[in-house]
């Protein structure tokens, strides 16, 4: 498929999303959707450096915040002009701010890359984390953009001809998501993408094959940084009040790593899957429980993902690794099983609206029981968590029975050893 065709399809899907969101007729959809879209951009941007080139960036929040604070700065530098005749609310339109945010974050990405790309692995990750801390300290102490007090950016109520301003922001973020995906996909299929993959696999061999590794890595940090800055630029308008702790929040760094990891890092579609899945899950969690439970859910999903699907959902679908082998070790099975019961326990204490969030963890339990049951010849094992899941969906579930069912599943999964000794060897 040509890039142009792909871009057209993306635009069509985006348009359909927007129309569908309008049909819902509730502005909250736009507020929640905006965040998910923002994560699509961030995850895709992270993946260009982290997934394609293999350099793990822990400083996503810094690039995001740079874009956001560029907006705050320009908002103050070109203040609201209100005269008797003209009420010109904002001197710079947001698309311009997005471009500026991209340029600034791109330049910082280039500079950071130049300073740190000679480092590998954990050292590079720590350096990017340090960059985020340095920038946050700088912003916190820069009173012009609000310092630690934060800055207000008043969002107008409406914009012509779209209507509510949030719909305009949503539309912009939709456009950015399309842009990010098109960029990521065309990189993946180009000479550049091949060079990135060579660097990820073996930098020394890449260099020996004529790949200018430093130059390519700088290109990756610049593109990745610029896209993150783009995602951050409209953020002050979305949130209305920006302070360093919200712009540099841990969520951005963690999510932009977790989403590609969970989706799969080798393809543009991985971060998309991860961002939609985790992003919407977090939105549901924010509404039904609390925003701090988000990170618990993300954390546990990462644990599941690293063990069951190290190459992401994408890798699991393509069957690059037989995920069933992980439960060959009874200890791994029991630990994973227990870990996935924890969120179910906590979610059950919340309001009934939080129940749907459990589904994902029930699914993991069912998968574990299925795989373990197959391996040890107890195929009925899968029935237990299915029964548990069914019970948990009734309004006043018999918790004791559920706990019992899960305990039986866990114990029954442990007692019998796999018949085939070869199957027990974990890869």
């Amino acid at each position: 498929m040509r890039t142009f065709t792909f871009a057209l399809i993306c635009v069509a899907v985006a348009a359909a999303t927007f129309v569908a969101a309008r049909l819902v007729g509730n502005d909250y959809v736009f507020f929640a959707g905006y965040v998910v879209l923002q994560y699509i951009v961030l995850a895709t941007a992270w993946n260009i450096l982290g997934g394609y080139t293999g350099y793990v960036n822990f400083g996503s929040a810094a690039f995001f915040a740079l874009g956001a604070y560029a907006t705050v700065f320009l908002h103050k530098a070109f203040p609201v002009v209100t005269t008797y005749f003209v009420d010109e609310p904002y001197a710079l339109p947001i698309p311009v701010l997005i471009v500026i945010g991209a340029v600034i974050s791109g330049i910082v990405g280039l500079g950071m890359g130049y300073l740190t790309l000679r480092l590998r692995g954990a050292f590079f990750a720590i350096a990017t984390l340090a960059l985020a801390v340095v920038l946050q300290t700088f912003i916190t102490n820069w009173s012009y953009v609000g310092g630690s007090r934060g800055a207000y950016v008043i969002r107008p109520n409406d914009i012509e001809p779209i209507g509510p301003y949030i719909q305009y922001l949503f539309l912009l973020m939709l456009a950015l998501a399309v842009l990010a995906l098109v960029v990521a996909r065309s990189i993946e299929r180009s000479r550049l993408g091949l060079g990135f993959a060579a660097i990820r696999d073996d930098e020394l061999a890449a260099e020996a094959s004529g790949v200018p590794t430093l130059k390519l890595k700088l290109i990756a940090t610049t593109i990745s940084g610029a896209l993150m800055g783009m995602a951050g630029a409209p953020f002050p308008y979305y949130i209305g009040y920006l302070q360093p702790t919200s712009a540099f929040a841990l969520d951005y760094a963690v999510n932009s790593i977790a989403m590609p990891m969970i989706g799969g890092t080798t393809s543009w579609i991985g971060p998309l899957i991860g961002a939609i899945l985790l992003g919407s899950l977090q939105q549901v969690a924010t509404v039904t429980i609390s925003s701090s439970v988000n990170l618990l859910i993300v954390g546990l999903l990462i644990v599941d993902c690293v063990i069951i699907a190290p190459t992401g959902i994408l890798g699991l679908l393509q069957g690059r690794r037989t995920a069933r082998d992980v439960v060959a070790d009874p200890a791994v099975f029991s630990l994973l099983f227990a870990v996935n019961v924890i969120p179910i326990y906590f979610l059950h204490q919340e309001a009934f609206a939080a129940r749907p969030l459990e589904i994902i963890f029930w699914a993991v339990l069912i998968f574990l029981a299925f795989a373990r049951g197959r391996l040890i010849g107890l195929r009925w094992l899968v029935g237990l968590p299915i029964a548990g899941a069914a019970l948990s969906m009734v309004p006043d579930p018999p918790r004791l029975i559920m706990a019992l069912v899960l305990a039986i599943c866990l114990v029954a999964g442990l007692v019998r050893r796999p018949r085939d000794p070869v199957a027990r060897s974990t890869p």
Partner: protein
């Protein structure tokens, strides 16, 4: 014949350990050179200094009439200096054919002159694969290859860069006699096409049947350089290999 590669007084130390101590080496265009030495004698370090993976502290490396000092490894590859690695280092997430596309796109197409089109790259990839005997493995992943095939891939990837000088760093370790003979024959065929080759090897049978000239490194010093038959009878070489 003029010298294609001129290594002049190259030294390299790692902390207090002198890995290379004032090495001089001259390789003529079209030559087949064998480079031997006991483990830890600095053979691979010399290759790394020639190819730009490591930078030498003293001395110069001249290749094709230009000094290589300060050039990065990929710049040297683009000038026609290719190497294979001692332990195969394939690009694990790419298919075998894609492994060859990397040097084709980044070295051959980065040189001045007409660029290969997509079709030409595919043709070249197929040609290289059949040259090393991996003709029907193009779509496989490197991890599915045997050790021999992995070494063949390593050679093919170095060859894809269309080198003037190929440095084959122990490309035969661990192979059976027949496989060694295969690779020696392949290297000689390549040499007949005009590629200068430096072979680093422990398998003496391969070295002796391949080399026109033999260089011996011991503890970072060059102790012998000459016709293979004379060199292996050199008492100093015997002492280095067998002890006294």
């Amino acid at each position: 014949m003029t010298a294609l590669l001129e290594v002049d007084n190259v030294s390299k130390r790692f902390g207090g350990f002198v890995a290379l101590d004032g090495i001089n080496l001259s390789v003529k265009a079209g030559e087949r050179l064998g480079l031997i030495g006991p483990n830890g004698s600095g053979k691979s370090t010399l290759v790394n200094c020639i190819c730009g993976t490591l930078s030498n502290e003293t001395g110069t490396v001249c290749f094709d009439g230009a000094t290589m000092n300060g050039l990065t490894a990929h710049e040297r590859t683009r000038r026609g200096l290719a190497r294979s690695f001692q332990l195969p280092r394939p690009f694990a997430s790419l298919s075998v054919a894609e492994n060859l596309r990397v040097p084709l796109l980044y070295t051959v197409n980065a040189r001045s002159g007409p660029h290969l089109s997509a079709a030409e790259i595919d043709a070249r990839t197929a040609e290289l694969l059949s040259l090393v005997g991996l003709a029907n493995r193009g779509s496989q992943q490197p991890r599915d290859l045997t050790q021999v095939d992995m070494r063949k891939l390593e050679l093919a990837r170095a060859l894809a860069a269309e080198p003037k000088l190929l440095i084959a760093d122990e490309s035969m370790a661990g192979l059976s006699n027949n496989e060694v003979a295969d690779i020696v024959a392949l290297l000689i065929r390549l040499n007949e096409r005009g590629i200068t080759i430096i072979m680093i090897e422990h398998i003496m049978r391969a070295v002796m049947s391949f080399s026109q000239r033999l260089v011996v490194l011991v503890s970072g010093k060059k102790i012998a350089d000459g016709a293979p038959d004379t060199v292996i009878r050199d008492p100093e070489v015997e002492r280095a290999y067998l002890g006294q």
